[in-house]
């Protein structure tokens, strides 16, 4: 029996047009890393952009190569655009049991147009996995016992999310081996933007948490090296990558996600600087660099808030 109560789409579904890549060889890869190994992509971060939310933030990573340099619109290097809204602290639903602390719920959703391949409206396993990672990251930062009997929702929408290598899908052999690296940059961005939005909502935190990524990468003309903030389409082959959520003041890590084969990358090269711990250290460096942007964004919005609250309360302006 078909569902008559809702407006359903056509039963067969629709297929968006898909264009074959005109790129014929690997050398036609549209981007090549031009940054220094320890240089991050430029970050734009601003809080308080969604008036209906208790706290909000917008995060953007510029494309690794400027759009003007590329010949066509289609070969544009992928950027990362995230928006985060925080709702709460708000009352728990009536059915929820008594909670002496703040209940956190996180959601990450890719917009259908976020990547070259369209996504559905229901969160898939990958999105739920990212949300679970974000949940553990934020849980270690919030002082949840100061907000009894309430819940907070952290909702992140990925407006544009980079793919691993969007324009070389013809070379499926390489891509199967190197799949999923882009998720780490997205999660690192999610952690930073969620941290900004939670501070904007005025929820107690022990520290600011930021995400950082480092990867062991082989470049065509260079030996194996650790790169900060890798963009998968910039690199020929990524061997291993590490994503951390780092609290600098307390020197604590609330989230650690590593992937790949570190041993395979070091074998035969004898490079001692390629181990697990140096990789984590480099990811920490990336997180510390992102923190500078986060602090500036928070200072900017807090300064404005202090001013408006003084204007609103003339009594306060005198003190």
């Amino acid at each position: 029996m078909t569902d008559r109560r809702r407006m359903n789409g056509p039963s067969g579904g629709t297929a968006p047009p898909f264009f074959a890549s005109s790129l014929t060889s690997k050398t036609a890869s549209p981007t090549q890393r031009t940054r220094a190994p320890d240089e991050l992509r430029k970050i734009f971060l601003k809080t308080g952009l969604t008036p209906s939310a208790s706290g909000s933030a917008y995060f953007e990573l510029e494309p690794s190569t400027p759009t003007a340099a590329s010949k066509s619109l289609a070969s544009k290097a992928p950027a990362l655009k995230l928006t985060c809204t925080v709702h709460g602290p708000r009352p728990l639903p009536r059915s929820a049991p008594f909670s002496p602390q703040l209940l956190l719920s996180t959601r990450i959703k890719f917009a259908p147009f976020a990547a070259r391949y369209r996504r559905g409206y229901i969160p898939d396993a990958g999105e739920r996995d990212l949300a679970a990672h974000l949940d553990t990251t934020l849980r270690g930062v919030l002082i949840s016992e100061r907000w009894p009997k309430s819940g907070v929702d952290v909702i992140i929408t990925v407006l544009e999310g980079e793919e691993d290598d969007p324009w070389n899908k013809g070379h499926l052999n390489e891509n199967e081996r190197a799949g999923g690296w882009g998720m780490m940059s997205i999660l690192a961005g999610c952690i930073t933007v969620a941290s900004a939005a939670i501070v904007d909502a005025g929820i107690d935190c022990i520290d600011l948490v930021t995400g950082g990524v480092a990867a062991i990468v082989r470049q065509p003309t260079a030996p194996l090296q650790v790169y900060l903030d890798p963009c998968p389409s910039d690199h020929e082959e990524i061997f291993a990558a590490c994503m951390i959520g780092y609290l600098q003041t307390r020197d604590e890590i609330t989230e650690l996600w590593t992937k790949g084969d570190i041993k395979a990358s070091t074998d035969g090269h004898g490079a001692n600087s390629m181990g697990f711990e140096p990789l984590v250290d480099q990811a920490m460096e990336a997180a510390v660099a992102a923190r500078l942007v986060l602090i500036e964004a928070i200072k900017e919005s807090t300064g404005m808030k202090v001013q408006t609250s003084r204007i609103g309360h003339p009594k306060n302006a005198a003190s």
């Binding site: 208790s54 706290g55 002082i143 009997k149 909502a201 005025g202 520290d207 600098q248 003041t249 300064g303």
Partner: protein
């Protein structure tokens, strides 16, 4: 406040503000026990509150560092000077004075929703308006302090009344527990059966200025 010169003008979570040997951590800050350093836990302007000197307890004579929570986003400034209207909630705590509206009167309790929480930090007067409505109850024995056994809920409250109460407990899974057992607590605003706003005439009666009818309430003493 000359003492605030040692504090940064703007703090963000994690910023160290001072040692716990010199200060007491107040709202908006937290104490890192291993290093005994007070860190900020909110973004805002840190302020020092000097304590009242108490010779018996020198421990309490340290000034308190606190950071007030900034409610409105910079995109919309507060429209009512005495209240911060925003989508953010200030949580009622035990001892908070709250304003609420009666939604249901039962024989053993009065169901209310909390609309606003009075500020406690002393820097500014007024109330923080809650973005959401928080469920609360006034139980029959918490309506007034004397002759508790003779309280009839229907004679103290009507649906739609605006009540000032004090939070006595975080309560159960859904309700905060409030008390109105003080002179200045109780019904502040009420409408008569005819629909007119009434004026208080005694500790237990309101009067409709148009029809002249009297209705019984647990009246809050006007300031």
């Amino acid at each position: 406040m000359a003492a605030t010169t040692s504090l940064p003008p703007l703090a963000y979570p994690g910023l160290p503000l001072g040692s716990s040997t010199a200060y007491i951590p107040g709202p908006g800050t937290h104490l890192d026990a291993p290093t005994s350093t007070i860190h900020a836990s909110l973004a805002g302007r840190p302020t020092l509150t000097p304590s009242i000197p108490n010779p018996k307890k020198p421990e309490t004579s340290k000034p308190t560092i606190s950071i007030r929570r900034l409610l409105p986003s910079p995109t919309h400034a507060p429209t009512i000077p005495s209240a911060n209207v925003s989508n953010t909630n200030t949580l009622p705590r035990v001892g908070s004075v709250v304003l609420c509206r009666v939604v249901r009167v039962r024989t053993r309790q009065v169901d209310v929703v909390i609309l606003a929480v009075a500020r406690e930090d002393g820097e500014e007067e007024g109330e923080d308006v809650c973005g959401d409505e928080w469920q609360a109850v006034v139980r029959k024995e918490d309506v007034r302090a004397t002759e508790k056994e003779k309280v009839v809920c229907g004679e103290g409250f009507r649906v739609g009344d605006v009540v000032r109460g004090v939070v006595i407990s975080l309560g159960d899974q859904s309700n905060y527990y409030l008390s109105t057992a003080r002179n200045e607590l109780g019904v502040m605003m009420a409408k008569s059966e005819a629909g007119n706003t009434m004026v208080p005439i005694s500790w237990k009666e309101f009067k409709d200025p148009v029809t002249g009818k009297r209705e019984s309430r647990k009246v809050a003493k006007p300031f």
